[in-house]
Protein backbone atom coordinates (compact mmCIF):
# COMPACT_ATOMS: atom_id res chain seq x y z
CA UNK A 1 0.00 0.00 0.00
CA UNK A 2 1.24 3.42 -0.87
CA UNK A 3 0.51 4.72 2.56
CA UNK A 4 2.63 2.15 4.34
CA UNK A 5 5.53 2.91 2.02
CA UNK A 6 5.23 6.62 2.63
CA UNK A 7 5.08 6.00 6.34
CA UNK A 8 8.22 3.86 6.27
CA UNK A 9 9.96 6.49 4.16
CA UNK A 10 9.00 9.25 6.57
CA UNK A 11 10.10 7.38 9.66
CA UNK A 12 13.22 6.12 7.96
CA UNK A 13 14.27 9.60 6.91
CA UNK A 14 13.75 10.80 10.45
CA UNK A 15 15.92 8.05 11.85
CA UNK A 16 18.54 8.93 9.28
CA UNK A 17 18.33 12.61 10.09
CA UNK A 18 18.52 12.11 13.84
CA UNK A 19 21.31 9.61 13.79
CA UNK A 20 23.43 11.00 10.95
CA UNK A 21 25.61 13.31 13.00
CA UNK A 22 25.98 10.64 15.66
CA UNK A 23 27.02 8.05 13.13
CA UNK A 24 29.56 10.38 11.60
CA UNK A 25 30.93 11.35 14.97
CA UNK A 26 31.17 7.70 15.92
CA UNK A 27 33.00 7.02 12.71
CA UNK A 28 35.40 9.85 13.38
CA UNK A 29 36.06 8.50 16.84
CA UNK A 30 37.46 5.33 15.42
CA UNK A 31 39.84 7.09 13.07
CA UNK A 32 43.42 5.94 13.34
CA UNK A 33 45.16 9.22 12.88
CA UNK A 34 44.69 12.36 14.90
CA UNK A 35 42.54 14.03 12.30
CA UNK A 36 38.87 14.25 11.70
CA UNK A 37 38.03 12.24 8.63
CA UNK A 38 35.06 10.29 7.53
CA UNK A 39 34.75 7.56 6.49
CA UNK A 40 37.37 6.60 9.03
CA UNK A 41 40.76 5.57 7.77
CA UNK A 42 41.93 2.72 9.80
CA UNK A 43 40.38 1.65 13.04
CA UNK A 44 41.53 2.54 16.47
CA UNK A 45 40.12 2.72 19.94
CA UNK A 46 42.89 5.08 20.98
CA UNK A 47 40.62 8.04 21.27
CA UNK A 48 38.42 6.21 23.74
CA UNK A 49 41.41 5.27 25.80
CA UNK A 50 42.52 8.90 25.67
CA UNK A 51 39.54 9.87 27.75
CA UNK A 52 41.12 8.04 30.62
CA UNK A 53 44.82 8.28 29.85
CA UNK A 54 45.07 11.91 28.86
CA UNK A 55 45.28 14.06 31.98
CA UNK A 56 43.16 16.85 30.57
CA UNK A 57 40.33 14.63 29.42
CA UNK A 58 40.39 12.45 32.49
CA UNK A 59 40.18 15.45 34.76
CA UNK A 60 37.32 16.81 32.68
CA UNK A 61 35.54 13.47 32.99
CA UNK A 62 35.88 13.48 36.76
CA UNK A 63 34.75 17.07 36.91
CA UNK A 64 31.70 16.36 34.80
CA UNK A 65 30.67 13.27 36.71
CA UNK A 66 31.31 14.92 40.05
CA UNK A 67 29.29 17.98 39.15
CA UNK A 68 26.50 15.84 37.70
CA UNK A 69 26.23 13.74 40.85
CA UNK A 70 26.31 16.77 43.12
CA UNK A 71 23.86 18.73 41.02
CA UNK A 72 21.36 15.92 40.61
CA UNK A 73 21.38 15.25 44.35
CA UNK A 74 20.89 18.93 45.09
CA UNK A 75 18.03 19.29 42.66
CA UNK A 76 16.19 16.37 44.26
CA UNK A 77 16.86 17.73 47.75
CA UNK A 78 15.29 21.03 46.74
CA UNK A 79 12.46 19.58 44.66
CA UNK A 80 11.25 16.95 47.14
CA UNK A 81 10.05 19.14 50.02
CA UNK A 82 8.42 21.45 47.50
CA UNK A 83 6.56 18.66 45.72
CA UNK A 84 5.54 17.14 49.07
CA UNK A 85 4.25 20.44 50.40
CA UNK A 86 2.20 21.13 47.26
CA UNK A 87 0.66 17.68 47.53
CA UNK A 88 0.02 17.66 51.24
CA UNK A 89 -1.35 21.13 51.87
CA UNK A 90 -3.94 23.37 50.37
CA UNK A 91 -1.95 26.54 49.89
CA UNK A 92 -2.57 28.57 46.73
CA UNK A 93 0.29 30.92 47.54
CA UNK A 94 2.68 28.00 47.24
CA UNK A 95 2.06 28.01 43.49
CA UNK A 96 4.51 30.87 43.31
CA UNK A 97 7.28 28.69 44.62
CA UNK A 98 6.25 26.02 42.15
CA UNK A 99 6.56 28.49 39.28
CA UNK A 100 9.98 29.44 40.60
CA UNK A 101 10.88 25.79 40.47
CA UNK A 102 9.77 25.46 36.89
CA UNK A 103 11.18 28.75 35.68
CA UNK A 104 14.90 28.04 35.40
CA UNK A 105 14.28 25.35 32.86
CA UNK A 106 11.67 27.12 30.78
CA UNK A 107 13.79 30.16 30.09
CA UNK A 108 16.57 30.06 27.52
CA UNK A 109 19.69 28.64 29.22
CA UNK A 110 21.76 31.65 28.14
CA UNK A 111 19.77 33.80 30.47
CA UNK A 112 20.08 31.55 33.46
CA UNK A 113 23.76 31.25 32.72
CA UNK A 114 24.17 35.01 32.60
CA UNK A 115 22.21 35.34 35.80
CA UNK A 116 24.57 32.98 37.57
CA UNK A 117 27.56 34.76 36.11
CA UNK A 118 26.44 38.06 37.58
CA UNK A 119 25.50 36.39 40.84
CA UNK A 120 28.73 34.58 41.48
CA UNK A 121 30.76 37.57 40.40
CA UNK A 122 28.88 39.78 42.82
CA UNK A 123 29.15 37.18 45.57
CA UNK A 124 32.85 37.04 44.98
CA UNK A 125 32.81 33.32 44.49
CA UNK A 126 33.23 33.34 40.75
CA UNK A 127 35.27 30.40 39.57
CA UNK A 128 34.94 28.25 42.66
CA UNK A 129 34.13 24.67 41.65
CA UNK A 130 31.18 24.32 43.99
CA UNK A 131 29.38 27.21 42.33
CA UNK A 132 28.70 25.11 39.26
CA UNK A 133 27.21 22.34 41.40
CA UNK A 134 24.76 24.82 42.89
CA UNK A 135 24.12 26.47 39.53
CA UNK A 136 23.32 23.17 37.87
CA UNK A 137 21.40 21.96 40.91
CA UNK A 138 19.04 24.91 40.73
CA UNK A 139 18.93 24.97 36.96
CA UNK A 140 17.76 21.36 36.86
CA UNK A 141 15.34 21.49 39.81
CA UNK A 142 12.51 21.43 37.32
CA UNK A 143 13.21 17.85 36.32
CA UNK A 144 12.75 16.07 39.66
CA UNK A 145 10.02 18.58 40.48
CA UNK A 146 8.02 17.40 37.49
CA UNK A 147 8.62 13.70 38.08
CA UNK A 148 7.93 14.00 41.80
CA UNK A 149 4.72 15.94 41.23
CA UNK A 150 3.61 13.11 38.96
CA UNK A 151 4.66 10.60 41.58
CA UNK A 152 2.75 12.27 44.39
CA UNK A 153 -0.31 12.57 42.18
CA UNK A 154 -0.12 8.84 41.62
CA UNK A 155 -0.24 8.06 45.31
CA UNK A 156 -3.69 6.81 46.23
CA UNK A 157 -5.18 9.14 48.83
CA UNK A 158 -6.92 6.26 50.51
CA UNK A 159 -3.55 4.66 51.29
CA UNK A 160 -2.56 7.76 53.20
CA UNK A 161 -5.89 7.88 55.00
CA UNK A 162 -5.70 4.19 55.84
CA UNK A 163 -2.25 4.65 57.32
CA UNK A 164 -3.58 7.52 59.43
CA UNK A 165 -6.43 5.38 60.71
CA UNK A 166 -3.81 2.85 61.78
CA UNK A 167 -2.01 5.38 63.89
CA UNK A 168 0.64 6.77 61.54
CA UNK A 169 1.42 10.49 61.86
CA UNK A 170 2.69 12.60 58.94
CA UNK A 171 6.31 11.66 59.40
CA UNK A 172 5.57 7.96 59.64
CA UNK A 173 3.31 8.10 56.61
CA UNK A 174 6.07 9.80 54.67
CA UNK A 175 8.60 7.20 55.71
CA UNK A 176 6.54 4.02 55.39
CA UNK A 177 4.01 4.71 52.68
CA UNK A 178 5.03 7.61 50.49
CA UNK A 179 8.75 7.15 50.10
CA UNK A 180 8.52 3.53 48.95
CA UNK A 181 5.88 4.45 46.40
CA UNK A 182 7.69 7.54 45.19
CA UNK A 183 11.18 6.12 45.00
CA UNK A 184 11.00 5.36 41.26
CA UNK A 185 10.10 8.99 40.62
CA UNK A 186 12.94 10.25 42.77
CA UNK A 187 15.35 8.07 40.87
CA UNK A 188 14.10 9.04 37.44
CA UNK A 189 14.13 12.73 38.35
CA UNK A 190 17.70 12.38 39.54
CA UNK A 191 18.67 10.44 36.45
CA UNK A 192 17.24 13.10 34.13
CA UNK A 193 19.11 15.80 36.00
CA UNK A 194 22.31 13.74 35.98
CA UNK A 195 22.30 13.16 32.23
CA UNK A 196 21.48 16.75 31.45
CA UNK A 197 24.08 18.09 33.83
CA UNK A 198 26.68 15.88 32.25
CA UNK A 199 25.90 17.39 28.87
CA UNK A 200 25.32 20.96 29.87
CA UNK A 201 27.65 23.64 28.55
CA UNK A 202 26.63 27.24 28.85
CA UNK A 203 25.65 27.45 32.54
CA UNK A 204 28.76 25.58 33.51
CA UNK A 205 30.90 27.74 31.29
CA UNK A 206 29.59 31.01 32.59
CA UNK A 207 29.92 29.85 36.15
CA UNK A 208 33.34 28.28 36.19
CA UNK A 209 34.49 28.10 32.59
CA UNK A 210 37.91 29.49 33.26
CA UNK A 211 38.77 27.38 36.26
CA UNK A 212 37.01 24.08 35.92
CA UNK A 213 36.80 22.20 32.67
CA UNK A 214 33.89 19.86 32.31
CA UNK A 215 33.72 17.62 29.28
CA UNK A 216 31.40 19.85 27.23
CA UNK A 217 33.60 22.86 28.04
CA UNK A 218 36.66 20.94 26.98
CA UNK A 219 34.99 19.94 23.75
CA UNK A 220 34.11 23.54 23.04
CA UNK A 221 37.64 24.64 23.74
CA UNK A 222 38.91 21.93 21.47
CA UNK A 223 36.57 23.20 18.79
CA UNK A 224 38.24 26.56 18.94
CA UNK A 225 41.80 25.68 19.63
CA UNK A 226 42.57 22.20 18.48
CA UNK A 227 40.63 19.37 17.02
CA UNK A 228 41.17 15.91 18.31
CA UNK A 229 39.12 12.81 17.71
CA UNK A 230 38.81 12.44 21.46
CA UNK A 231 36.00 14.98 21.14
CA UNK A 232 34.21 12.44 19.04
CA UNK A 233 34.75 9.57 21.42
CA UNK A 234 33.49 11.70 24.33
CA UNK A 235 30.37 12.53 22.34
CA UNK A 236 29.77 8.88 21.67
CA UNK A 237 30.24 8.26 25.38
CA UNK A 238 27.63 10.88 26.19
CA UNK A 239 25.13 9.34 23.86
CA UNK A 240 25.83 5.90 25.28
CA UNK A 241 25.29 7.13 28.85
CA UNK A 242 22.05 8.82 27.87
CA UNK A 243 20.75 5.74 26.10
CA UNK A 244 21.65 3.52 29.06
CA UNK A 245 20.11 5.79 31.67
CA UNK A 246 16.92 6.46 29.76
CA UNK A 247 16.75 2.83 28.77
CA UNK A 248 16.94 1.81 32.42
CA UNK A 249 14.22 4.25 33.35
CA UNK A 250 12.11 2.85 30.56
CA UNK A 251 12.83 -0.70 31.66
CA UNK A 252 11.94 -0.22 35.31
CA UNK A 253 9.51 2.64 35.12
CA UNK A 254 6.70 4.00 33.01
CA UNK A 255 8.42 6.29 30.57
CA UNK A 256 5.37 7.26 28.51
CA UNK A 257 3.55 8.20 31.70
CA UNK A 258 6.48 10.30 32.91
CA UNK A 259 6.31 12.19 29.65
CA UNK A 260 2.63 12.92 29.89
CA UNK A 261 0.74 10.01 28.39
CA UNK A 262 -2.12 8.47 30.28
CA UNK A 263 -2.21 4.74 30.66
CA UNK A 264 -4.56 3.05 28.23
CA UNK A 265 -6.71 1.71 31.03
CA UNK A 266 -7.20 5.00 32.78
CA UNK A 267 -9.02 7.20 30.32
CA UNK A 268 -9.68 10.57 31.82
Amino acid sequence: MINKFVLRLFLGSLVLFLSAPLVVVAGVSFNEKKSLSFPPQGFSLDWYAQIFTDDGWRQALFNSVGVAIGASCLSVIVAFPLAWFLWRFHAPWARIVQVLGLAPFILPPVITALGFLSFWTTAGAYGQPWTVVISHGIFFVTLPLVTLTLGFDAVDDSLVEAAATMGADDKTILRTVILPLILPYIISGMAFAFVLSLNEYIVAYMAVGFTVETLPIKIFNSLRYGYTPTMASVTVLFVAVAVIVFGLIARFGDLPRLLGAWRHDEDG
Binding site: D156, A162, A164, T165, M166, G167, A168, D169, T176
Partner: protein, 349 residues
Protein backbone atom coordinates in the same frame (compact mmCIF):
# COMPACT_ATOMS: atom_id res chain seq x y z
CA UNK B 1 -20.54 6.08 79.00
CA UNK B 2 -22.81 5.06 76.20
CA UNK B 3 -20.73 4.25 73.19
CA UNK B 4 -20.43 6.69 70.33
CA UNK B 5 -22.43 9.90 70.46
CA UNK B 6 -22.99 12.53 67.81
CA UNK B 7 -23.93 15.75 69.55
CA UNK B 8 -25.54 18.23 67.11
CA UNK B 9 -23.16 17.32 64.35
CA UNK B 10 -23.32 19.31 61.13
CA UNK B 11 -21.02 19.21 58.12
CA UNK B 12 -20.92 21.80 55.37
CA UNK B 13 -18.67 22.01 52.35
CA UNK B 14 -18.88 25.67 51.42
CA UNK B 15 -22.55 26.25 50.69
CA UNK B 16 -23.40 22.60 50.45
CA UNK B 17 -24.66 20.87 53.58
CA UNK B 18 -23.52 17.27 53.51
CA UNK B 19 -24.91 16.43 56.92
CA UNK B 20 -27.69 18.48 58.53
CA UNK B 21 -27.64 18.95 62.28
CA UNK B 22 -27.93 15.50 63.77
CA UNK B 23 -27.71 13.92 67.16
CA UNK B 24 -27.27 10.18 67.31
CA UNK B 25 -26.19 7.56 69.82
CA UNK B 26 -24.59 4.29 68.83
CA UNK B 27 -24.52 1.80 71.67
CA UNK B 28 -21.48 -0.31 72.50
CA UNK B 29 -21.04 -3.68 70.93
CA UNK B 30 -23.73 -3.21 68.31
CA UNK B 31 -23.55 -3.72 64.56
CA UNK B 32 -24.86 -0.51 63.01
CA UNK B 33 -25.48 0.20 59.33
CA UNK B 34 -25.59 3.69 57.88
CA UNK B 35 -27.94 3.14 54.99
CA UNK B 36 -28.99 5.44 52.18
CA UNK B 37 -28.59 6.29 48.48
CA UNK B 38 -25.40 7.90 47.10
CA UNK B 39 -24.83 11.40 48.33
CA UNK B 40 -26.94 11.01 51.45
CA UNK B 41 -24.07 11.88 53.76
CA UNK B 42 -23.47 8.45 55.25
CA UNK B 43 -19.83 8.28 54.17
CA UNK B 44 -19.27 11.81 55.43
CA UNK B 45 -20.65 10.78 58.79
CA UNK B 46 -18.32 7.80 58.92
CA UNK B 47 -15.33 9.90 57.94
CA UNK B 48 -16.12 12.31 60.75
CA UNK B 49 -15.98 9.45 63.21
CA UNK B 50 -12.58 8.58 61.75
CA UNK B 51 -11.37 12.16 61.91
CA UNK B 52 -10.83 12.30 58.16
CA UNK B 53 -13.32 15.15 58.05
CA UNK B 54 -13.94 17.71 60.77
CA UNK B 55 -17.54 18.60 61.63
CA UNK B 56 -18.49 22.21 60.94
CA UNK B 57 -20.47 22.24 64.19
CA UNK B 58 -21.03 19.84 67.02
CA UNK B 59 -19.09 17.27 68.98
CA UNK B 60 -18.31 13.61 68.75
CA UNK B 61 -18.00 11.70 72.00
CA UNK B 62 -16.60 8.25 72.55
CA UNK B 63 -17.36 6.73 75.93
CA UNK B 64 -18.02 10.18 77.27
CA UNK B 65 -14.78 11.72 75.99
CA UNK B 66 -14.85 14.51 73.42
CA UNK B 67 -12.78 13.25 70.50
CA UNK B 68 -13.77 15.96 68.00
CA UNK B 69 -10.41 17.69 68.00
CA UNK B 70 -8.28 14.57 68.24
CA UNK B 71 -6.39 13.88 64.97
CA UNK B 72 -7.06 10.69 63.07
CA UNK B 73 -3.93 8.87 64.00
CA UNK B 74 -4.62 9.26 67.69
CA UNK B 75 -8.14 7.89 67.64
CA UNK B 76 -8.62 4.29 68.55
CA UNK B 77 -10.43 2.59 65.70
CA UNK B 78 -9.89 0.36 62.68
CA UNK B 79 -11.21 1.18 59.25
CA UNK B 80 -11.81 -0.71 56.03
CA UNK B 81 -11.97 1.56 52.97
CA UNK B 82 -14.13 1.04 49.93
CA UNK B 83 -11.14 0.29 47.74
CA UNK B 84 -9.52 -1.58 50.63
CA UNK B 85 -6.34 0.56 50.48
CA UNK B 86 -3.94 -2.34 50.91
CA UNK B 87 -0.33 -1.18 50.63
CA UNK B 88 0.85 -2.45 47.25
CA UNK B 89 4.48 -2.45 48.25
CA UNK B 90 3.96 -4.77 51.26
CA UNK B 91 2.98 -8.42 51.61
CA UNK B 92 -0.18 -9.61 53.32
CA UNK B 93 1.64 -10.12 56.61
CA UNK B 94 3.39 -6.76 56.40
CA UNK B 95 0.10 -5.03 55.69
CA UNK B 96 -1.57 -6.57 58.70
CA UNK B 97 1.42 -5.92 60.92
CA UNK B 98 1.69 -2.30 59.80
CA UNK B 99 -0.19 -0.74 62.72
CA UNK B 100 1.88 -2.79 65.13
CA UNK B 101 5.20 -2.10 63.45
CA UNK B 102 4.81 1.64 63.48
CA UNK B 103 4.25 1.45 67.20
CA UNK B 104 7.59 -0.28 67.56
CA UNK B 105 6.25 -3.81 67.87
CA UNK B 106 8.90 -6.48 67.80
CA UNK B 107 9.13 -8.86 64.90
CA UNK B 108 8.10 -11.76 67.12
CA UNK B 109 5.02 -10.01 68.48
CA UNK B 110 3.97 -8.96 65.02
CA UNK B 111 4.42 -12.48 63.74
CA UNK B 112 2.16 -13.87 66.43
CA UNK B 113 -0.47 -11.21 65.91
CA UNK B 114 -0.50 -11.70 62.15
CA UNK B 115 -0.94 -15.43 62.60
CA UNK B 116 -3.85 -14.92 64.97
CA UNK B 117 -5.55 -12.40 62.73
CA UNK B 118 -5.16 -14.47 59.59
CA UNK B 119 -6.81 -17.37 61.36
CA UNK B 120 -9.59 -15.08 62.49
CA UNK B 121 -10.40 -14.16 58.90
CA UNK B 122 -9.80 -17.68 57.64
CA UNK B 123 -6.71 -17.01 55.56
CA UNK B 124 -4.06 -19.07 57.32
CA UNK B 125 -0.56 -19.27 55.83
CA UNK B 126 -1.03 -16.26 53.58
CA UNK B 127 1.39 -13.99 55.38
CA UNK B 128 4.05 -13.90 52.69
CA UNK B 129 1.77 -13.51 49.73
CA UNK B 130 2.14 -10.25 47.80
CA UNK B 131 -1.03 -8.22 47.79
CA UNK B 132 -1.32 -8.19 44.02
CA UNK B 133 -1.75 -11.95 43.92
CA UNK B 134 -4.94 -12.06 45.98
CA UNK B 135 -8.52 -12.53 44.86
CA UNK B 136 -11.17 -9.93 45.69
CA UNK B 137 -12.51 -11.88 48.63
CA UNK B 138 -9.05 -12.52 50.01
CA UNK B 139 -8.10 -8.85 49.79
CA UNK B 140 -11.28 -8.05 51.66
CA UNK B 141 -10.30 -10.33 54.51
CA UNK B 142 -6.78 -8.93 54.69
CA UNK B 143 -8.23 -5.42 54.95
CA UNK B 144 -10.46 -6.59 57.80
CA UNK B 145 -7.59 -8.33 59.58
CA UNK B 146 -5.46 -5.19 59.29
CA UNK B 147 -8.20 -2.98 60.68
CA UNK B 148 -8.60 -5.23 63.71
CA UNK B 149 -4.89 -5.62 64.43
CA UNK B 150 -4.88 -3.16 67.30
CA UNK B 151 -8.09 -4.45 68.86
CA UNK B 152 -9.75 -1.07 68.46
CA UNK B 153 -12.87 0.19 70.18
CA UNK B 154 -14.60 0.94 66.90
CA UNK B 155 -14.65 -0.94 63.64
CA UNK B 156 -15.60 1.22 60.65
CA UNK B 157 -16.30 -0.04 57.16
CA UNK B 158 -17.06 2.09 54.09
CA UNK B 159 -19.09 0.08 51.55
CA UNK B 160 -16.81 -2.88 52.21
CA UNK B 161 -18.59 -5.38 49.99
CA UNK B 162 -19.43 -3.23 46.99
CA UNK B 163 -16.50 -4.47 44.93
CA UNK B 164 -17.37 -8.15 45.37
CA UNK B 165 -19.57 -10.18 43.07
CA UNK B 166 -23.07 -11.04 44.24
CA UNK B 167 -22.49 -14.54 45.57
CA UNK B 168 -19.35 -13.61 47.48
CA UNK B 169 -21.11 -10.58 48.86
CA UNK B 170 -23.84 -12.70 50.38
CA UNK B 171 -21.42 -15.05 52.11
CA UNK B 172 -19.23 -12.19 53.33
CA UNK B 173 -22.24 -10.48 54.89
CA UNK B 174 -22.80 -13.50 57.08
CA UNK B 175 -19.10 -13.86 57.88
CA UNK B 176 -18.84 -10.23 58.84
CA UNK B 177 -21.82 -10.53 61.14
CA UNK B 178 -20.42 -13.65 62.78
CA UNK B 179 -17.05 -11.99 63.23
CA UNK B 180 -18.63 -9.04 64.94
CA UNK B 181 -20.63 -11.22 67.24
CA UNK B 182 -17.53 -13.18 68.12
CA UNK B 183 -15.47 -10.10 68.94
CA UNK B 184 -18.27 -7.99 70.36
CA UNK B 185 -16.76 -4.89 68.82
CA UNK B 186 -18.88 -1.80 68.00
CA UNK B 187 -19.16 -1.90 64.24
CA UNK B 188 -20.41 0.79 61.86
CA UNK B 189 -20.89 -0.09 58.21
CA UNK B 190 -21.80 2.32 55.42
CA UNK B 191 -23.86 0.77 52.65
CA UNK B 192 -26.39 1.64 49.97
CA UNK B 193 -27.64 -1.94 49.77
CA UNK B 194 -30.70 -2.35 51.97
CA UNK B 195 -30.56 -6.12 51.91
CA UNK B 196 -27.05 -5.92 53.30
CA UNK B 197 -28.24 -3.66 56.09
CA UNK B 198 -31.20 -5.83 56.90
CA UNK B 199 -28.99 -8.92 57.03
CA UNK B 200 -26.16 -7.67 59.18
CA UNK B 201 -27.35 -4.81 61.32
CA UNK B 202 -28.60 -4.68 64.89
CA UNK B 203 -29.50 -1.06 64.22
CA UNK B 204 -30.09 0.71 60.91
CA UNK B 205 -29.64 4.45 60.42
CA UNK B 206 -31.58 5.43 57.30
CA UNK B 207 -30.33 8.61 55.67
CA UNK B 208 -31.04 10.71 52.63
CA UNK B 209 -29.77 14.12 51.53
CA UNK B 210 -27.83 14.70 54.71
CA UNK B 211 -30.70 13.92 57.07
CA UNK B 212 -31.29 10.95 59.34
CA UNK B 213 -34.79 9.61 58.79
CA UNK B 214 -34.98 6.72 61.21
CA UNK B 215 -32.80 4.79 63.61
CA UNK B 216 -34.19 1.37 64.52
CA UNK B 217 -33.58 -2.38 64.28
CA UNK B 218 -34.14 -3.76 60.77
CA UNK B 219 -37.48 -5.40 61.42
CA UNK B 220 -38.90 -2.26 62.95
CA UNK B 221 -37.65 -0.21 60.01
CA UNK B 222 -39.43 -2.58 57.73
CA UNK B 223 -42.68 -2.95 59.64
CA UNK B 224 -42.98 0.56 61.00
CA UNK B 225 -41.24 2.98 58.59
CA UNK B 226 -41.34 6.51 59.90
CA UNK B 227 -41.81 8.36 56.63
CA UNK B 228 -42.34 7.88 52.92
CA UNK B 229 -38.66 7.81 52.12
CA UNK B 230 -37.87 4.98 54.52
CA UNK B 231 -40.97 3.05 53.49
CA UNK B 232 -40.04 3.32 49.86
CA UNK B 233 -36.31 2.79 50.19
CA UNK B 234 -36.57 -0.45 52.14
CA UNK B 235 -38.34 -3.16 50.23
CA UNK B 236 -41.42 -2.57 48.18
CA UNK B 237 -44.39 -0.63 49.44
CA UNK B 238 -47.63 1.02 48.44
CA UNK B 239 -47.98 4.65 49.41
CA UNK B 240 -51.55 5.85 49.66
CA UNK B 241 -52.61 9.39 50.53
CA UNK B 242 -55.90 10.27 52.13
CA UNK B 243 -57.67 12.52 54.61
CA UNK B 244 -58.40 11.78 58.25
CA UNK B 245 -62.01 10.88 58.69
CA UNK B 246 -62.38 9.95 62.31
CA UNK B 247 -60.49 8.34 65.15
CA UNK B 248 -58.98 5.57 63.13
CA UNK B 249 -60.31 6.15 59.65
CA UNK B 250 -58.74 7.61 56.56
CA UNK B 251 -60.74 8.46 53.49
CA UNK B 252 -58.90 7.45 50.36
CA UNK B 253 -59.86 7.27 46.71
CA UNK B 254 -62.44 4.52 46.48
CA UNK B 255 -63.22 4.04 50.15
CA UNK B 256 -62.01 4.09 53.73
CA UNK B 257 -59.00 2.48 55.34
CA UNK B 258 -58.39 1.76 58.99
CA UNK B 259 -55.12 2.30 60.84
CA UNK B 260 -53.63 2.86 64.28
CA UNK B 261 -52.01 6.10 65.47
CA UNK B 262 -54.02 8.25 63.10
CA UNK B 263 -53.53 12.00 63.76
CA UNK B 264 -56.52 14.16 64.69
CA UNK B 265 -57.02 15.68 61.28
CA UNK B 266 -55.44 16.56 57.98
CA UNK B 267 -53.90 14.71 55.07
CA UNK B 268 -51.85 11.60 55.71
CA UNK B 269 -49.87 9.08 53.74
CA UNK B 270 -49.97 5.44 54.71
CA UNK B 271 -47.63 2.67 53.72
CA UNK B 272 -48.83 -0.86 53.09
CA UNK B 273 -46.44 -3.66 52.21
CA UNK B 274 -47.55 -5.71 49.22
CA UNK B 275 -47.34 -9.03 51.04
CA UNK B 276 -49.86 -7.85 53.64
CA UNK B 277 -52.64 -7.11 51.15
CA UNK B 278 -55.35 -9.77 50.79
CA UNK B 279 -57.04 -10.32 47.45
CA UNK B 280 -60.28 -12.05 46.64
CA UNK B 281 -62.69 -12.19 43.79
CA UNK B 282 -64.90 -9.14 43.98
CA UNK B 283 -68.11 -10.05 45.78
CA UNK B 284 -69.49 -6.57 46.04
CA UNK B 285 -68.59 -6.26 49.73
CA UNK B 286 -67.98 -2.75 50.81
CA UNK B 287 -66.51 -2.22 54.23
CA UNK B 288 -63.83 -0.08 55.85
CA UNK B 289 -60.43 -1.48 54.99
CA UNK B 290 -61.58 -2.99 51.74
CA UNK B 291 -61.34 -1.35 48.30
CA UNK B 292 -62.15 -2.68 44.86
CA UNK B 293 -59.83 -2.66 41.92
CA UNK B 294 -58.99 -4.26 38.60
CA UNK B 295 -56.11 -6.57 37.91
CA UNK B 296 -53.79 -4.92 35.35
CA UNK B 297 -51.06 -7.49 35.23
CA UNK B 298 -49.91 -10.63 37.03
CA UNK B 299 -46.28 -11.64 37.40
CA UNK B 300 -45.73 -15.23 38.45
CA UNK B 301 -42.22 -15.49 39.89
CA UNK B 302 -42.58 -19.04 41.05
CA UNK B 303 -42.06 -18.61 44.80
CA UNK B 304 -44.34 -15.59 44.88
CA UNK B 305 -46.88 -13.94 42.63
CA UNK B 306 -47.12 -10.21 42.05
CA UNK B 307 -50.44 -8.59 41.25
CA UNK B 308 -50.47 -5.12 39.70
CA UNK B 309 -53.82 -3.59 40.44
CA UNK B 310 -55.66 -0.45 39.47
CA UNK B 311 -57.55 0.73 42.54
CA UNK B 312 -59.57 3.85 41.78
CA UNK B 313 -56.88 5.20 39.55
CA UNK B 314 -53.94 4.33 41.82
CA UNK B 315 -51.52 1.53 41.09
CA UNK B 316 -51.32 -0.95 43.96
CA UNK B 317 -48.99 -3.91 44.12
CA UNK B 318 -49.89 -7.04 46.04
CA UNK B 319 -47.84 -10.19 46.56
CA UNK B 320 -49.17 -13.59 47.44
CA UNK B 321 -47.75 -17.06 47.78
CA UNK B 322 -48.90 -19.70 45.28
CA UNK B 323 -51.14 -21.28 47.87
CA UNK B 324 -52.92 -17.99 48.70
CA UNK B 325 -53.37 -17.06 45.10
CA UNK B 326 -56.89 -15.86 44.25
CA UNK B 327 -58.52 -17.27 41.21
CA UNK B 328 -58.40 -14.16 39.04
CA UNK B 329 -56.79 -13.11 35.81
CA UNK B 330 -55.91 -9.79 34.21
CA UNK B 331 -59.00 -7.67 33.76
CA UNK B 332 -60.97 -9.18 36.64
CA UNK B 333 -62.33 -7.08 39.43
CA UNK B 334 -60.98 -7.92 42.86
CA UNK B 335 -61.60 -6.87 46.38
CA UNK B 336 -58.41 -5.56 47.91
CA UNK B 337 -58.29 -5.80 51.64
CA UNK B 338 -55.89 -3.71 53.76
CA UNK B 339 -55.60 -5.18 57.29
CA UNK B 340 -55.52 -2.50 59.95
CA UNK B 341 -52.15 -3.51 61.44
CA UNK B 342 -50.55 -3.43 57.96
CA UNK B 343 -51.43 0.22 57.38
CA UNK B 344 -48.63 2.37 58.75
CA UNK B 345 -49.25 6.08 59.08
CA UNK B 346 -46.16 7.95 57.92
CA UNK B 347 -44.70 11.18 59.25
CA UNK B 348 -43.27 13.93 57.04
CA UNK B 349 -40.12 12.93 55.24
Amino acid sequence: MSGLVFDSIEKKFGDFTAVHETSLTIPNGKFVCLLGPSGCGKTTLLRMIAGLEDPTHGRILLEGNDVTRIPTHQRDFGMVFQNLALFPHLTVGENIAYPLRIRGGSKADCFKAVKRLLELVQLPDMADRPVAKLSGGQRQRVAIARALALEPKLFLLDEPLSALDAKLRESMQIELKQLQQKLGITTIVVTHDQREAMTMADLVVVMSQGKVHQVAPPVEIYRKPKDAFVADFIGMTNLITGRVNGADQIAVAGGVLLADDVPASGDVTISVRPENIRLAKDDGANAPGILTGTVSYIRDLGASIEFYLDVSGQQITAITTPSDRPDVTAGDRVSVSFPREACVVLGDA
